[in-house]
Symmetry: C2
Subunit: 239 residues, 2 copies
């Protein structure tokens, strides 16, 4: 029995795009581990489509940022990076359930690959590439505008969370302390739990597959907490 959802009609309804060639969609959902497993059938994996989709996403987000802001080149680059980075892309893809439809090899399935940000965000780029090939730039752009180019303020906050948090607490003469609480799981699939605390202001925990990812999430949680308490978390010198 396959572990992935095979109902591609349902998936196409979810994303609001009907493929002319359903094989393009299947190609986008084929992780290399699955293609390797059944290699006698010569199924190709989604890496070529990912290469293409990455460029479609880059242009669409650059275009959107260029037209909607008067930011400098440096600020535009930073905002774009926050949109196309692995965790935020994976988050967007989960919003339409992409992870359930990815075809994975048994090994990847058993070690939790279906929930891994890297696999989900790569498949999301491949999906964008497949819509671009199947339906052209306009359809790919529409998909990206609907599912990826939203909630930009929070994505930016997440991406820059450690820097912003540092600025906020330093303005009060304080400092953030990050501490590793635990480290578990096998070498290729570790989970780190990290805490971030600052005097009486906050003490939060978050987990991630790297120490850095866990710290970033903890900083983000701290910022959300401060925001809830109406503490100003806008970086200094920015509007």
């Amino acid at each position: 029995m396959p572990q992935h959802n095979t109902n591609l009609d349902e998936f196409q309804n979810r994303i609001g795009y009907q493929f002319n060639d359903i094989n393009m969609l299947k190609n986008a959902l084929t992780h290399s581990s699955y293609a390797n497993e059944i290699k006698l059938k010569k199924v190709s994996n989604n890496e070529r489509l990912e290469f293409l989709g990455d460029a479609v996403l880059e242009l669409t987000s650059s275009d959107y940022i260029y037209r909607n802001n008067q930011m400098s080149e440096g600020e535009m680059s930073r905002l774009r990076a926050s949109i196309v980075c692995e965790p935020t892309l994976a988050m967007c893809a989960r919003s339409f359930g992409l992870q359930k439809y990815i075809m994975l090899g048994k090994g990847e399935e058993l070690t939790g690959g279906r929930e891994r940000d890297s696999i989900i965000s790569d498949a999301c780029e491949a999906l964008i590439g497949s819509i671009y090939i199947d339906g052209g730039f306009a359809n790919a752009k529409e998909f990206i505008e609907k599912f990826i180019l939203n909630d930009l303020e929070n994505k930016k906050l997440f991406y820059d969370s450690k820097t912003i948090l540092q600025e906020v607490v330093q303005a009060r003469g304080l400092d953030v302390e990050y501490e590793q609480i635990s480290e578990a799981g096998p070498e290729h699939d570790k989970t780190f739990v990290v805490s971030a605390k600052c005097s009486d202001l906050f003490h939060v925990q978050a987990s991630g597959h790297t120490k850095k990812a866990a710290q970033q999430k903890a900083a983000y949680e701290a910022l959300l907490l401060l925001k809830k308490r109406n503490i100003d978390i806008k970086p200094k010198g920015k509007k």
Copy 2:
């Protein structure tokens, strides 16, 4: 007297594209050093357009590579890098004389900025961005296909020249020796001359603004020399 050619009708004929809004073209040709110099007039430099044009170039070249090859993702990335890298982009831009039309500040002009690869390739990306905004994706794509996506075999050879040369001479049980011949010019604008030699096979020289760039050019010269003598320079294991 301006040092740049101000005949933009001539330039538009050269590139085969007529702007609807000539200010877009002027914006693309404005280097930051020029914008800074006359900042009272609030002229914006070409960095925002460069940000956008870079993404247009990336998608157009990715699309071209995807459709014309069955390469793996890794090979496609390497070929794309060879197309969009600074020296090859600057070379393409020189083919239609872009450097003559760039508006530069006096300081940059005096220190040879008009012939600098980085300034020319940045302006080329800005030009692509300006055509994209002024005339849409199709016009930008046509420009890129005409002026950038050509001579790909040689660009690849140039980009990988040190690796390929190493493989060719190692196959004969030999080794390449690089030697720095001279280093001249002020700190921010050095010129390095480097030689590459290998037994009786070749002994060539080349110059560049970094030691690495000079070595790459020398390796490329050596490969061209070997090719002229009908020595096989195809990397091993590749067709």
